[in-house]
């Protein structure tokens, strides 16, 4: 009997244990299933960056997998302490945009306290409050209307969960039912897990939207900047054109100061001029004048080039004309002395300023073809005379026209010339040009050799050779300075 009872007890124990094991297995299977569903949902909602789509997916999945028929997500506006419905599922009207203030109703209180809430007796609780309210109204106390809140009218059960990210409220996920007490603590856990997923997905989507805005803004900014730059470029181009126009006009004036071709042909006769300004207007120029039996010709290199050089060239031109016509000077050295006086005067208005170095280098000849006499005076620059294959250099004085400390009178050189002699005047632009195979200066030695090799050729041809040589030497390098070479055959 005792043995039998013990066996029975044992049997019953085994049956009981089996029940527990079955229960545990069932729980495990359910848990596994839940984990699988969570993973699927998590993947699904994290795979999208579109906020509306994330929320709608979440609510749909809550219905499909857990049979939560009515649900909504409200996003928070923490500054204004209110929420608005961003997505809903299972309602006759979607109610998108409906507002809930913090502290109002279950959702509002959840948002305010950042704590989840689960109720299964909302109807009963409300009935209790309403009876108190009726009593208060009957007692003549002032009472307020019931709140209109989004969701089911006859809600009995609700779970509302704050969507939090690092303790900041993003929104509230609410699930509700018209039946009492339908959500248990397990549902609470399920919804909590999904709410956390949703919170991070929402955050990701928002970050994406923000990034997109920033990008768009940047693009807009780049567009604006480009527009601005293009506008500035247009302005600069316009100004540049204005400046170029006035420089071109200045060139016309400068050209007008150069001796006319027919004047040259009449007086200089057998000659060439190679004149190549670096810019539109030039600091170099040449000057020719015939007075009585003397032909005056000069190559002038004013300091600088371009516009400033051109300004000085006007001064130089005026000075030469004055010396020749107003002062009736006929000796090159005297003309240079007068020119120097003139230029120095002109540039020394501001006596305190010692660093005005504006002036010019010049080689000036006076050729008397009747007497076969040549006079020369030079400021820094020389002249060449080639006769019978021999080049003679006659150096100018080592001083410029313009401010100079140890100034002395210019030297006047007198030379007898013969028919066929060729005289060359030039500025430093040709010999100083960089180029050739090593990018070096052309130099005077090569310049002299070139003149010697070609002096017998017709003047026009010599000019062409000089020009071509210059071009070949310079190649792709920029022109360094203005170039002026004058050749005159006696």
């Amino acid at each position: 009997m005792q043995n039998l009872t013990a066996t029975d007890i044992l049997k019953n124990q085994i049956v009981d244990n089996q029940k527990v094991i079955d229960q545990l297995n069932a729980d495990l299977a359910r848990k596994n299933q839940e984990v699988k569903i969570f993973q699927e949902i998590s993947t699904e909602i994290n795979n999208t960056l579109d906020l509306d789509s994330i929320l709608n997916k979440l609510l749909l999945l809550l219905d499909k997998t857990f049979e939560f028929r009515h649900s909504m997500v409200l996003l928070s506006d923490e500054l204004d302490e209110k929420l608005f419905v961003a997505a809903s599922h299972g309602y006759e009207t979607n109610g998108i945009g409906a507002e809930v203030k913090f502290g109002e109703g279950i959702i509002g209180v959840v948002a305010k306290r950042k704590k989840l809430m689960r109720m299964g007796n909302i109807g009963a609780q409300r009935a209790y409050f309403n009876s108190v309210k009726t009593q208060m109204t009957n007692a003549g106390e002032e009472t307020k209307e019931d709140l209109k809140l989004p969701g089911l009218n006859n809600v009995q059960s609700q779970v509302a969960i704050p969507l939090l990210l690092e303790n900041a409220l993003i929104g509230v996920l609410a699930v509700e039912s018209e039946k009492t007490n339908v959500f248990d603590s397990r549902d609470e856990i399920i919804i909590t897990i999904l709410a956390n997923q949703a919170a991070s997905a929402i955050d990701k989507a928002r970050a994406h939207i923000k990034l997109k805005h920033i990008n768009e803004n940047l693009e807009h900014l780049v567009h604006e900047r480009t527009k601005e730059v293009v506008m500035q470029k247009d302005i600069i181009e316009e100004k540049n054109n204005d400046i170029l126009d006035s420089i071109r006009y200045a060139k016309r004036i400068q050209d007008a100061l150069l001796p006319a071709k027919n004047h040259m042909e009449k007086h200089v006769k057998d000659y060439f001029v190679l004149f190549k300004p670096k810019d539109i207007v030039s600091g170099d120029f040449y000057w020719v004048n015939q007075k009585e039996n003397k032909l005056f010709f000069a190559a002038i290199d004013c300091t600088g080039h371009g516009v400033p050089g051109a300004f000085v060239s006007i001064v130089a031109h005026t000075g030469l004309q004055r010396a020749l016509i107003l002062f009736s000077l006929r000796t090159p050295s005297e003309i240079l002395d007068k020119l120097n006086e003139n230029v120095t005067d002109m540039f020394s208005h501001d006596n305190t300023s010692t660093d005005i170095k504006d002036g010019m280098d010049i080689s000036l000849c006076a050729l008397d073809r009747d007497a076969m006499k040549l006079e020369f005076a030079g400021a820094n620059n020389p002249m060449y005379l080639i006769r019978n294959g021999k080049l003679t250099e006659i150096k100018g004085d080592k001083q410029p026209i313009g401010q100079y400390l140890s100034r002395k009178d210019f030297t006047n050189h007198k030379i007898d010339v013969e028919k066929g002699d060729v005289i060359y005047l030039f500025t430093d632009g040709y010999a100083d040009q960089f180029g050739g195979p090593k990018g070096k200066k052309f130099k005077y030695k090569q310049f002299e050799e070139m003149l010697l090799a070609n002096y017998n050729l017709p003047m026009a041809e010599q000019s062409k050779i000089l020009e071509r040589k210059f071009h070949d030497w310079k190649k792709n390098l920029g022109q360094v300075d203005d170039v002026c070479v004058i050749g005159v055959r006696v």
Binding site: G103, E104, I106, V109, K115, M119, R126, K133, T143, E145
Partner: protein, 130 residues
């Protein structure tokens, strides 16, 4: 003590009956809207305003409460003993939030205030047969 199957009886769907007794032995019975589950050995009752119940349990901590399952109408009688009055913590927050939520829905925010969550130890649970 408190089994899983009793939880639905503690959701405040069917009101509960609470019996207390003054130090002089004068009993008092009242209906309360909800008995809150704290853990398997504790329940909480809300203390909204001072009344006989509140006074009694502070004189004589022993009390009894009857709860009913809203679907099966199973009923349990719990012998309980008042332990402490909590004004913060999870259970207080839970009760306070419910009060605030429902009051606000009825347009009565600020009228009801939860003074405390009174915590009772559950001494015995007895299923009542009707």
């Amino acid at each position: 003590m408190i089994k899983q199957e009793m939880h639905p009886a503690m959701q405040g769907i069917v009101p509960a009956s609470l019996v207390t007794c003054s130090k002089n032995g004068e009993p008092n019975t009242t209906t309360i809207s909800q008995v809150f589950y704290v853990d398997d050995n504790h329940i909480a009752l809300s203390f909204q305003f001072f009344n006989k119940t509140i006074r009694n349990v502070r004189e004589n901590p022993n009390a009894s409460v009857q709860i009913m399952h809203p679907a099966t109408f199973e009923t349990w009688s719990l012998d309980i003993e008042f332990q402490e009055s909590k004004t913060e913590g999870d259970i207080f927050d839970q009760m306070d939030m419910q009060l605030e939520a429902i009051a606000s829905m009825s347009g009565m925010s600020g009228i009801f205030k939860l003074h405390a969550a009174d915590i009772y130890k559950v001494k015995t649970v007895e299923r009542v047969a009707y």
